[in-house]
């Protein structure tokens, strides 16, 4: 028990350390990364004082939208506990399907009717909402004070507004089915691309589908693209993210084309599950948990679900580096939480405080089993699988890390990535043509 507790303490401390790495690796939308120095106009701190004054306030109904398909029960429990604590606040809670958060929020933003409290990703979309005065600047809130500094830059707009609090520290990984690995006689985890292909071949020879990747939604960008970009591009040019923001980056290179090329290789060799081009996130997760394939390329955000399998799940770092190439892991932010400007701002800030500094955080974290975003979580209440702890610990040894795609790519490029992967898999484009297409899309986006 004591050992488990100390491991949890270690991962909590690690998340702080990695946060610092992340802070350095870029993905910032603006130059002002220090939230503490952001200009005024921020919301009043909700903090401890809010939690001490639950009653005698006018009744409000908070609209809440959460992209919580993999923690839906926990989300509902959080809302129930919150309304128990604040009986004057009623919650009208909607769940947003995975990968559709920006699409859900954008028309609401245009009509100035954003939910009072919502999930939001770091990156350009949230920054635009903040810069148009639609999201509360959270810089001076207790939630922000309790958030690891390194997780703030991607949630900071170009004008210095902290528009969201990250839902955790995020990294990609491959979950593998220990039973199927054993059945195929695989004893050692692959350390590079060549070894990974050999493992896939061994699995295939044993009649086991090697890998699941959801190829019909943003999951493929979270995993194949982000890992490929980190290894192939950031590994060679650590300033790539900055160059993309400045409009000086060139996607039309062999290194970038190789991101598509690797996925095509897996597809052509029949290492991917049947139906990969039309496979979506939730189906992919179900298929892995049903033992339909030996590995699932996903992220730490799914640790709570994937590690609770009956067959025993292991985790490995995606070996996307060819032999001799530096390994660059993805270290980024999880989808976070934001508060809309409006008459229910104070009540929504109380919910934010409940989610980050109070009971809500532990319900959320325990379900997800992810790496906390908070500075000082109670180690006795945080639930992290030792596998995740050791995985996160390993990340310390890497000098370079890469961000997730949505944290820095222009929205026009973001919108075309999944289709581009599909066009490569179906043979409509070669990886080189795909790289050229991405470059054209990027140039058009930057022209504006």
């Amino acid at each position: 028990m004591a050992a488990k507790r100390s491991k949890t303490m270690a991962v909590v401390a690690m998340s702080g350390l990695l946060g610092t790495v992340l802070y350095g690796c870029g993905g910032n939308n603006g130059e002002n990364g220090n939230a503490a120095e952001s200009p005024s106009g921020s919301a009043p701190a909700s903090g401890a004082s809010a939690s001490q004054e639950p009653a005698k306030e006018e009744k409000v109904t908070l609209t809440v939208s959460l992209m919580s398909s993999d923690w839906i029960d926990a989300a509902q429990e959080i809302m129930d506990r919150f309304t128990e604590k604040y009986p004057n606040i009623k919650v009208d809670f909607s769940q947003v399907p995975n990968d559709t958060n920006a699409e859900y929020l954008q028309p609401k933003a245009a009509a100035n009717s954003l939910p009072d409290f919502m999930t939001i990703d770091g990156g350009t979309f949230g920054a635009q909402l903040a810069d148009n005065g639609l999201l509360v600047d959270l810089s001076d809130t207790a939630a922000a004070n309790n958030t690891i500094e390194g997780l703030k830059p991607v949630f900071t707009s170009s004008t210095g507004k902290l528009f969201g609090i990250a839902g955790g520290l995020s990294t990609t990984l491959i979950f593998y089915n220990k039973q199927l690995f054993e059945k195929a006689g695989i004893a050692e985890l692959p350390q590079n691309w060549e070894q990974f292909l050999a493992v896939c071949e061994k699995l295939k020879a044993a009649g086991i589908t090697p890998l699941i990747v959801a190829g019909a939604d943003g999951t493929v960008n979270n995993t194949v693209w982000s890992n490929g970009f980190a290894t192939n591009v950031i590994g060679k040019d650590p300033d790539a993210v900055k160059k993309i923001a400045e409009g000086t980056f060139n996607f039309n290179t062999p290194e970038y084309a190789d991101i598509y090329g690797k996925f095509k290789t897996l597809f052509d060799k029949d290492y991917l599950i049947k139906g990969v081009t039309s496979l979506q996130y939730s189906q992919a997760n179900d298929e892995f948990l049903q033992g339909k394939a030996a590995m699932s390329f996903s992220g730490v955000w799914l640790a709570g679900t994937m590690l609770s399998s009956d067959f025993g799940t292991g985790v490995m770092m995606p070996p996307w580096n060819v032999e001799g190439q530096e390994r660059v892991p993805v270290v980024a932010t999880e989808t976070g939480f934001a508060v809309a400007e409006g008459k229910h701002k104070d009540a929504a800030l109380k919910l934010l405080d409940f989610m980050i500094n109070d009971e809500g955080f532990y319900i959320y974290q325990n379900k997800k089993g992810n790496v906390p975003m908070t500075v000082n979580p109670d180690p006795a209440k945080v639930k992290i699988d030792p596998l995740v702890t050791s995985y996160i610990d390993d990340l310390k040894s890497y000098s370079k890390t890469g961000p997730l795609w949505f944290e820095f790519l222009p929205s026009e490029v973001q919108a075309t990535l999944v289709q581009t992967f599909q066009r490569v898999l179906t043979g409509e484009l070669t990886p080189e043509q795909a790289a050229e297409f991405t470059q054209t899309t990027y140039e058009q986006a930057m022209k504006k």
Binding site: Q128, G215, A216, D217, G275, V276, S278, Q414, R423, K448
Partner: protein
């Protein structure tokens, strides 16, 4: 004043009755349409209150985009394949059900049932059916000893459009069937009786009597199904998302992607305007052509 009122009171009363409907149309259709056209010549991103006039750049860029040709060919595919197939199936089923007697209502309910489902639900159902790993179709082929027949129906360029068409036909056939049944109920029975006395066969009756007599229903169904297919969004969006790549992308899906994924509202509106113009031209041309063929009372 009084004399003026007396002279125009019918006009005034008519206008008063029509006014609420006109107000609703103006508010919810005309105004958004005008706004869409206005925004189609701007670079609005959907959030910012600021935007610039960009002339016809959005139209040019939308037309030059690689998916535009694909969208047109997809739409053409659906019009050429889906509209005739859907109408033929709906008409044949209507004729059979019309003659079936006692169980007619049961069949009508069964065939109309998919239509009461949301298109989103229908999309999810067919997504499961087509799933090559755990879908019932894959299971069926495995059980039949034909595992090679298991395909990623909605993940392959060659099969996605027929697979999509099948799901749309399954969803829509009940609706068109009811319109054909309505048309059939207006055809006098005596015509068939005298045709039978003259020894006219079933097929000849269908082609030479039924079809001309229900030409108005054919017109309605053809026009509605073409408008429906030109503007279809929910089902393909849920089922295929327009993929793989652009292989099943319809114009409406592309409008959505421009608007809400790539934050290019100007492009989305430009494409919406193009879609509106195409739909109007096709619908008017069809209406004109089919009206000429209708049997009238005159």
């Amino acid at each position: 004043m009084t004399r003026w009122y007396v002279r125009h009171r019918m006009t005034i009363a008519g206008a008063a009755f029509v006014l609420p409907a006109l107000a609703v149309i103006a508010l919810f259709f005309l105004y958004p349409a005008i706004q869409s056209f206005r925004l189609s010549v701007t670079d609005w991103n959907g959030i910012s209150p600021d935007y610039r006039f960009v002339g016809l750049d959005n139209f040019r860029e939308v037309i030059e985009a690689p998916q535009f040709k694909r969208m047109l060919s997809n739409t053409l595919f659906l019009i050429v394949l889906y509209v005739p197939v859907l109408n033929a199936i709906a008409l044949l089923l209507a004729v059979v059900i019309y003659d079936v007697g006692r169980l007619a209502n049961f069949y009508k309910v069964v065939l109309y049932l998919p239509n009461i489902l949301s298109m989103v639900v229908v999309g999810v159902i067919w997504k499961v059916i087509y799933n090559p790993v755990f879908g019932p179709l894959a299971y069926l082929f495995e059980k039949l000893g034909k595992p090679d027949w298991v395909q990623d129906w909605i993940g392959q360029t060659a099969t996605v459009m027929p697979a999509l068409s099948l799901s749309i036909v399954w969803y829509a056939v009940g609706f068109y069937l009811l319109i054909y049944l309505g048309g059939l109920s207006t055809v006098p029975k005596e015509i068939y009786e005298s045709a039978e006395m003259d020894g006219v066969g079933w097929r000849r009756q269908l082609l030479s009597l039924t079809l001309p007599m229900i030409a108005q229903s054919v017109t309605i169904n053809v026009v509605l199904s073409i408008i429906g297919i030109l503007t279809i969004f929910d089902l393909p969006f849920i089922l295929t998302g327009g993929g793989p790549g652009f292989a099943s992308q319809t114009m409406a899906i592309s409008v959505y992607i421009y608007a809400f994924k790539s934050m290019q509202q100007g492009h989305a509106m430009a494409l919406a305007v193009i879609l509106t113009v195409i739909t109007m031209i096709v619908a008017l041309a069809l209406l004109t052509a089919l009206r000429r063929k209708e049997v009238t009372d005159e």
